[in-house]
């Protein structure tokens, strides 16, 4: 079960593409403790409890985060579950104390960094207009010194798409364990952009091949998730979006949502499915969510459907306004990524023979955040 706790919707950055409806509210300790209780009551024994901290900027309230982690670790039912913690942060609020706490408590750190200064600072700025790159880079390097696992999440938009190979090159240089490349699905992507995807992704594929060939493999979501899908001939059911069924997000006020990206998105709190005070067992069913299929008729007939993430409800919502209806950019992006991954697989196979499995698996281990790759 995946649970995301949004400690606050407040943030010290004012990123141009942010979809969060910023509010100064901070989660109270009472709400946080009730969420912890409900998580353990709701999760079947033996099942993984995957808790992610999100925002706004969660490290604005580090003491609350510490309290929650401590309460989870000391909960009487803690030993009945493997526990996975993670935090997604903008990387501007960080220090040795935070790093050591995350390390001691096995909290996977994922920092948002869109690439080198020119790319990153074009969107990710403080409220006063200053770019955040310098602070973020310094903190990624600090985190790398202290933590064994540092992941980076980079968002790209139409205006930065062509710069993506340079972004990957920069992120490789940071030597982080994992690089997640995420398109901003809400951006006004055009057909022209979609035609540029194949060469851009292919260039990243070549960078990936070079990296893995020289023995410095790093996980790149764009490539590794599709390599996994190809080898498995598709995504398994448990890897697909389970929003509102096995994935829940809690806002600072204790409202429950089917996905963290839907907190505060849309009009009139339209995605809210309940409140923690009523209990997890009384959440409203997501009547508009059917994760078993995509309603777009083009998807139903597509031969690549099983390798595609057209089931990602929040991505679909931000592209088309519907959880169950994939848009044209996602379609073009997925096809380009699958073609790139196939080329990468064939090239690595020509280099390593059957050992390609080991090369790929050493990088593409399962990700507790997106469940993209459960290879072995």
């Amino acid at each position: 079960m995946k649970y995301t706790i949004s400690l606050t919707q407040n943030c010290n950055l004012a990123c141009s593409y942010c979809y969060i409806d910023k509010k100064p509210d901070v989660m109270s300790l009472d709400i946080a403790l009730e969420i912890v209780e409900q998580i353990f009551a709701f999760t079947p024994a033996g099942e993984v409890v995957d808790i992610g901290f999100f925002g706004g900027e969660p490290l604005l309230h580090f003491s609350l985060l510490k309290e929650i982690v401590t309460r989870v670790r000391s909960h009487p039912r803690c030993h009945a579950h493997p526990i996975v913690f993670s935090i997604t942060t903008n990387g501007t609020i960080f220090n040795k104390e935070i790093a050591e706490f995350l390390g001691e408590n096995e909290v996977v750190l994922c920092i948002s960094c869109d690439g080198p200064a020119a790319v990153h600072d074009s969107c990710r700025r403080f409220a006063d207009g200053r770019g955040s790159f310098a602070a973020v880079e310094k903190n990624i390097l600090l985190a790398r010194k202290i933590l064994p696992r540092v992941w980076v999440n980079a968002v790209y938009q139409p205006q930065t798409l062509l710069l993506l190979p340079g972004v990957v090159e920069y992120l490789f240089s940071l030597d982080v364990e994992r690089i997640y490349l995420n398109p901003d699905y809400s951006a006004p992507w055009t057909e022209c952009d979609s035609q540029a995807l194949a060469p851009v992704y292919a260039a990243i594929g070549e960078q990936y091949i070079e990296k893995i060939s020289t023995g410095r493999a790093q996980y790149v979501s764009l490539i590794d998730s599709k390599l996994a899908a190809i080898i498995k001939d598709g995504y398994a059911l448990h890897e697909r979006c389970r929003m509102g069924q096995k994935e829940f997000a809690f806002s600072a006020s204790g409202h429950i949502y089917p996905c963290e990206r839907l907190i505060g998105a849309g009009a009139d709190n339209q995605h809210c499915i309940g409140h923690i005070s009523s209990g997890m067992t009384k959440i409203r069913s997501c009547s508009k969510i059917d994760i078993s299929k995509n309603s777009n008729s083009a998807c139903a007939a597509c031969a690549l459907a099983q390798y595609c993430v057209n089931w990602c409800g929040c991505s679909n919502f931000f592209s088309t306004g519907r959880y169950d209806f994939a848009g044209p950019f996602l379609c073009a992006s997925e096809k380009a990524a699958i073609c790139t991954a196939l080329h990468v697989f064939q090239t690595l196979e020509s280099l390593f023979g059957k050992e390609v499995f080991e090369k790929i698996i050493s990088v593409a281990d399962p990700n507790p955040l997106d469940k993209a790759a459960e290879l072995y």
Partner: protein, 144 residues
């Protein structure tokens, strides 16, 4: 025992169900023999641990751990190691009907050829969502 190993190392069935036809044809064509349960148990089975590329190798799952009905790591291990739900067998192998078959180079080539052909055919036959469909979607969404 294999069921216990699955519970310790995470799901296995989903991984291979989709390529059952390819797996079956390769096993039949090369008349492969499955690994014995004893041989399977000798492989490294990381239940928790840091990934090899960041240094510390996994804790090994002991026979006692595999006997545990819940396969929950002891507190000491959980406290000191990252959870790593990967399975343990990193060498190329196939699963079919609860059995495990190791892949020699020649067998792997055949398996891989079929796998790649399958994906290539799908890419050739892939459809596409057109950008002008967005308008249609927006209109459809109004009724929801």
């Amino acid at each position: 025992m294999l069921e216990r190993i699955d519970r310790i190392n995470g799901g296995r069935m989903e991984l291979w169900l989709n390529i059952r036809d390819i797996t079956h044809s390769v096993v039949e064509k090369f008349k492969l023999h499955p690994l014995s349960e004893e041989a399977v148990a000798t492989y490294t089975l990381p239940m928790t641990g840091r990934s090899p590329e960041v240094g510390e190798m996994s804790e090994r799952v002991t026979p006692q751990a595999m006997q545990s009905p819940m396969a929950i790591p002891p507190e000491g291990i959980r406290k000191n190691f990252w959870i790593d739900p990967r399975g343990g067998m990193k060498s190329p192998h196939l699963h079919l009907d609860g059995k495990i078959f190791m892949l020699e180079e020649e067998v792997y080539r055949e398996f891989s050829k079929q796998l790649i052909n399958n994906v290539q055919k799908r890419i050739s036959a892939a459809g596409a969502i057109q950008f002008n469909q967005l308008l249609e979607v927006s209109e459809a969404s109004i009724g929801l």
